[in-house]
Amino acid sequence: MAITIRLATQLRAHVQGREEVTAVGETVRAVLDDVDRQYPGFKDQVLGEKGVKRHLNVFVNEDDIRFLESLDTALRDRDVLTIMAAVAGG
């Protein structure tokens, strides 16, 4: 089951500069685990002790996972995961 993960700029350095990566898994958590297997250390950039870091937002297709089942949100083949980060600057 292939999932596309679109990444905030700050996270791209942890996946060899890629804008998006693909991974497999039946839940958001499983997909992040798979990305971490491909790019060790990635998960630490996204997750803290209490789940997704507070300055990040994770969307499954069009929906914010905070309003679904969070990391246990079920995924379907070809779903798109988007990780958006807060930035400051100008």
Binding site: T9, V87, G90
Partner: protein
């Protein structure tokens, strides 16, 4: 004539202030910094001779040259819980283009508490974001990002990650567009995050939801950072759309 506070007169605040000043909006420019040579590639109201001067003074002069007769107030001060209420006094809208997460959350919280619409902007590298917020409608900045990243977290700022000169010019102009829309009473974009990637020329629109537990939307409660909260209306839904290129 509306009064807009431009908080942060940097890469985003300069183009936003120029557009709004020329549109006839009264401006209150707020920034504690002085112009540095490293600012000049992206902060279009300043020139070499301004290096070392307070940004708000140099920006005011530049705006008056560009829009003679404009009403421009300059305040060289920092943003803090102690100064924010005075800085927001009497304003109809805030354009927030600061480069510090603490300032962004402070502005978001105080604008929510006072019922002042705000347009948040940010830029780093080749991309930027714009979030217009109308009081009592949709999510606020704290609904979206909850809290500032910790100092050990890889969060982008223009200081740590740099920013390419043309990008804040584009995003700053978008801040002015959204400010004018809100001032006209058009809240159609309120609560939507525009995520613009200048390198790929791709704009994405994200529509996060209002968080029921956001401290800025608890009815009749006191925010931990001070201020009485505005009542929370119904959620406007949380959809994320991907406009065609």
């Amino acid at each position: 004539m509306s009064l807009v506070a431009v908080l942060g007169v940097g890469g985003l605040g300069c183009p936003a202030a120029l557009a709004l000043g020329r549109a006839g909006v009264r401006l209150r420019l707020v920034d504690e910094d002085r112009v540095e040579r490293s600012n000049l590639h992206r902060q279009g109201l300043y020139e070499e001779a301004d290096v070392g001067r307070p940004k708000v003074a140099a920006a005011r002069e530049a705006l008056l040259r560009a829009a003679p007769g404009a009403a421009v107030e300059a305040r060289q001060t920092h943003f803090s819980p102690d100064t924010m209420d005075d800085l927001l006094d009497g304003v109809d809208l805030v354009v927030e283009g600061t480069d510090a997460f603490g300032a962004k959350f402070l502005v978001a919280d105080r604008c929510a508490a006072r019922g002042v619409p705000v347009v948040h902007g940010a830029c780093v590298g080749w991309y930027g974001t714009v979030l217009p917020v109308a009081p009592g409608e949709g999510p606020c900045y704290r609904c979206v990002f909850e809290d500032a990243p910790g100092c050990d977290e890889d969060a982008g700022t223009c200081v740590t990650a740099g920013v390419y000169g043309p990008v804040p010019a584009l995003v700053g102009a978008l801040l002015a567009v959204e400010a004018l829309r809100l001032l006209r009473g058009d809240h159609g974009n309120a609560g939507r995050v525009l995520w613009y990637d200048a390198w790929r020329q791709v704009a994405r629109e994200l529509s996060p939801r209002r968080r029921s537990r956001c401290p800025n939307h608890q009815p009749d409660t006191i925010h931990p950072r001070g201020g009485l909260m505005v009542p929370a209306p119904r959620s406007t839904g949380g959809r994320l759309s991907w406009p065609s290129r």
